[in-house]
């Protein structure tokens, strides 16, 4: 077998051109109901399944330290029953469809997600609407869920990896609500009572704040009729207004946490662009050059060559307010100091010299290839449809993003590294 290395730039370029169109026709319908609810339906004949994502403008970014975790708390109580049936009956009804129905909070939204065999799409939509529009929100369930949420907060604290990430967000974002944990804190959870849950639900679960996406083996016209029947009568109400948020300020911090663990965790992060920022694509490519995949610099250098870390990668998730470019290592305690130095060297390198053409091509191929692959299942497609509305970037975002990534130059990556990896926050979790 001949070495394939020399072929990389050529075939990678071809790959970029060839991933756009799936072989099976899929189409998306986008409709806004009179009450403000946005509906997105994607017909996808591939598998006999259907997935629903209902996203609500309610998340950490609308929270304060006093009520931290309330968005997620509301979702936890919602799944415990509606005005028509108990949580157990709800669970049985969903299971009878071969389905799943759950709800969670996130930083920019709360999501009710459900899925089932496609032949049950009507029943699934019905149950999803029932949970979103007529949850029982019983006082006893608020108390029960608080106890479970407190146990999950404890579990996150016990996990070295989660603990390190939570410390990082808290330090990096300062007074901006992205500093707050999605689950909340023990103090805030104890303070949030039944009245607060009900009030929050009423203010935020309004049609103007909701995006409903459906993807699967369905007919858009039929689904739309059912959606109008279920959601059309909902009154617009007076939705909560969005206050301006304090901008996070980049500053140099170093936080060391000690806790029982086998592995040391090292995180270095800079404040980075929001999803709608023109620099977004360049930072995505930068993140991938540094720590995307197994040919990313961190994995190739720190793990494969130097064996200084077991886990080595970089993250940069799309969010509405400033994002976080996070470089992450998990390593043996004995290696922690050397690994951190090696990590800083990689950051310095990406800030001082441009990435090579081949390296950039690898990063773009990896980034766009993964992006396409991630959008193949109905669950993910429903998520993306709703998410791009939550972020107000439009349904043509995938195409614009793809073109923006392809246009990123070595110079743009260098500029991005200098702009977003100069003032950084470091968190080190050391086993004790």
């Amino acid at each position: 077998m001949r070495p394939a290395r020399a072929l990389i730039p050529l075939v990678a370029a071809l790959a970029l051109l060839s991933i756009a169109a799936p072989a099976v026709a899929q189409s998306t319908t986008r409709v806004r109901l009179d009450n403000g609810l946005l509906v997105l339906i994607r017909e996808n004949p591939v598998a006999p399944v259907v997935a629903v994502s209902l996203m609500i403008d309610s998340g950490t970014r609308w929270e304060r330290p006093e009520n931290s975790g309330i968005s997620n708390f509301v979702t936890a109580v919602m799944v415990k029953g509606t005005t028509k049936r108990s949580g157990g009956e709800m669970a049985e009804a969903v299971a009878a469809l071969g389905g799943k129905l759950s709800a969670t909070g996130d930083v920019d939204y709360s999501e009710i997600q459900s899925s089932a065999l496609a032949r049950f799409w009507r029943e699934l939509l019905d149950l999803t609407a029932e949970m979103a529009l007529s949850p029982a929100l019983l006082p006893v369930e608020v108390d029960n869920e608080r106890e479970l949420l407190l146990s999950r907060v404890q579990k996150r604290r016990d996990s070295p990896n989660s603990r390190a990430f939570d410390e990082l967000y808290a330090t990096l974002y300062g007074r901006h609500p992205y500093a707050l944990p999605i689950l909340g804190t023990p103090e805030s959870l104890k303070r949030i009572d039944h009245a607060a849950i009900v009030e929050r639900y009423r203010a935020y679960y309004r049609p103007g704040r909701m995006k409903l996406a459906i993807s699967g083996q369905v007919k858009a016209a039929d689904v739309l009729v059912e959606v109008r029947r279920l959601f059309g009568g909902l009154s617009p109400g007076t939705p909560a207004t969005d206050a301006a948020l304090p901008a996070p300020v980049a500053a140099t911090h170093r936080v060391v946490v000690e806790q029982p663990a086998q592995q040391a965790q090292i995180l270095v992060a800079g404040l980075a662009p929001r999803i709608a920022d023109p620099d977004f694509a360049a930072v995505k490519v930068l993140t991938t050059v540094l720590g995307g995949g197994m040919a990313g610099r961190l994995f190739a250098e720190l793990r494969d060559k130097q064996a200084l870390a077991y886990t080595a990668s970089a993250f940069f998730d799309p969010v509405r307010d400033p994002g976080a470019l996070i470089v992450y290592l998990g390593t043996a305690p004995d290696n922690a100091d050397r690994a951190e130095q090696a990590l800083r060297k990689e950051i310095e390198r990406v800030r001082s010299e441009p990435a090579g053409a081949e390296e950039l091509q690898r990063a773009k191929g990896y980034l766009l290839g993964n992006y396409e692959m991630d959008r193949r299942t109905n669950g993910r497609q429903a998520w993306y449809l709703a998410f791009y509305e939550i972020e107000s970037v439009g349904q043509d975002y995938p195409d614009r993003y793809r073109r923006a990534v392809e246009a990123v130059t070595p110079d743009a990556v260098l500029r991005a590294a200098r702009a977003y990896l100069t003032t950084v926050t470091t968190v080190v979790l050391r086993p004790k």
């Binding site: 949580g87 190739a300 494969d304």
Partner: protein, 446 residues
């Protein structure tokens, strides 16, 4: 986030597959698992190919009939170590070039080690079928194991051992297997003892590789936007040219249910406790798998399951509870894992046993049986949404049982009666033949 981790004990019986059409279902609900083309090449390599035009990618998976159970004295951990080394390089592929090649295509790679098999997975834009198959055939027999890579990977694997211990649920799963199966090979750590890894030489690894990585142990699965003819041509030109050599796997005994209870307690840094119960049940080739699989769904698969409704919702003894059934070639294990307050450990165990006793004595309802079947059908439908999901179902079936069994799976589930489910509960799930592992917080932790 973490690539190439050993899949120690998390593989459930995801095999569920079928093309059976439910009577009265509408045409759009009948898309099922297609029967792939299966061909045995003259040198013993099995080729499984299936066209799937749902997207523009192709999944390429090399399934090896090599796993933790095949390791002899001094070899424990080598199957997994090989998995780490194969993507490192061959004489014609310098270190790092394989990852750059795959990722430059816009593809991904991954690999998994288990008791019965090891598999190497690629997902690539379909245009790269040929270089992808060439790569798999190359690493299957020509891996270099250069000394620098060996030494670097040694540290990575030792680190992986530590990492397993940091996550309580993963570690619980591993302990359940160790306690349930010892001294059978399924009871050994897939990662091996640290000492073996620390002192491992290229010669020892090469010897194991040459002995086990032979055509008769190989299955190549190709699923995606390529024709069967293209897949076949690529396989014949690469895997088809490997020399035919004899192959053998060590004999491993089939495990029966335990005669008595086994217990193990460990102190852990977490402030919460974990309770794991496990019962040895049917291996994958036994007729009981269908009843045990349905029973597992009914007991603990979803929020509506008996364990969730009783132990979590009614008795409020646990924060979370799940079960899982792993059917291997020589043994099966149903595991239950709960996260809970330390003070509730005894009562939660009693409550779980009560739920199981309820099935033994009172059986399951027709509603529960139907719900379990439709859940299995859905879980299968979602698994095959992607080319790699379908390829995995084929590869696992070919390696640990048969494609025919796989394709008939859902039909067999549908034929399974409530009486058979109760009989399986009576046969395998006793009050005194299970394994109990508990993690309790260290005294005065934090």
């Amino acid at each position: 986030m973490i690539a190439r981790l050993a899949l120690a004990a998390t593989l459930g019986l995801l095999l569920a597959g079928c093309a059976a059409v439910e009577r009265g279902a509408s045409p759009e609900a009948t898309a099922g698992l297609p029967r792939p083309t299966r061909e045995v090449l003259p040198n013993g390599v099995v080729l499984i190919a299936q066209e799937q035009w749902a997207s523009t990618v192709v999944a390429l998976q090399l399934w090896m009939r090599v796993g933790g159970r095949d390791e002899g004295p001094g070899e424990v951990g080598l199957s997994h170590y090989l998995e780490h080394m194969l993507f490192k390089g061959t004489p014609t592929r310098p270190p790092g070039s394989i990852d750059r090649l795959i990722e430059g295509f816009g593809g991904r790679s991954n690999a998994f080690t288990s008791f019965d098999y090891t598999h190497y997975d690629l997902v690539l834009p379909a245009a790269h079928l040929r270089p992808g198959v060439e790569l798999l055939a190359d690493i299957a027999v020509n891996a270099s194991f250069n000394q620098a890579d060996m030494d670097a990977e040694r540290k990575v694997v030792l680190e992986e051992m530590r990492l397993t211990e940091d996550n309580a649920e993963n570690y619980m799963s591993r302990r359940q297997y160790e306690v349930s199966y010892t001294p059978h090979p399924y009871g050994r750590s897939l990662l091996g003892p640290p000492e073996t890894i620390r002192t491992l030489t290229r010669e020892t690894l090469s010897r194991y590789y040459k002995k086990m990585y032979v055509p008769r142990h190989m299955t190549l699965v190709v699923v995606g936007a390529v024709t069967v003819a293209q897949a076949r041509a690529a396989a014949l030109a690469t895997f088809g040219r490997l020399p035919n050599v004899p192959a053998s796997r060590p004999d491993v005994s089939v495990l029966q249910p335990l005669a008595q209870k086994r217990t193990d307690d460990a102190r852990r840094p977490e402030e919460q406790a974990f309770l794991g119960l496990a019962w040895r049940t049917a291996p994958v080739n036994e007729g009981d798998v269908y009843a045990v699989d349905l029973l597992t769904y009914i007991l603990g698969d979803s929020p509506s399951s008996r364990l969730n409704q009783t132990v979590r919702e009614r008795d409020r003894l646990v924060f979370s509870i799940d079960d899982n059934y792993s059917a291997w070639e020589k043994a099966g294990l149903v595991t239950i894992i709960a996260r809970l307050a330390p003070a509730n450990l005894d009562r939660a165990e009693a409550s779980i046993l009560g739920v199981i006793r309820g099935v033994r004595e009172g059986g399951v309802t027709e509603t529960e049986r139907r719900r379990a079947i439709v859940t299995a059908e859905a879980s299968y439908a979602f698994d095959i949404e992607t080319a790699e999901g379908l390829a995995k179902a084929y590869g696992q079936a070919e390696t640990t049982w048969t494609l025919d069994n796989e394709i008939a799976y859902l039909a067999r589930l549908r034929e399974t009666t409530a009486a058979e489910i109760q009989a399986a509960a009576r046969k395998y799930f006793g009050d005194d033949n299970y394994v109990r592992v508990r993690f309790v917080p260290q005294a005065g932790a934090r």
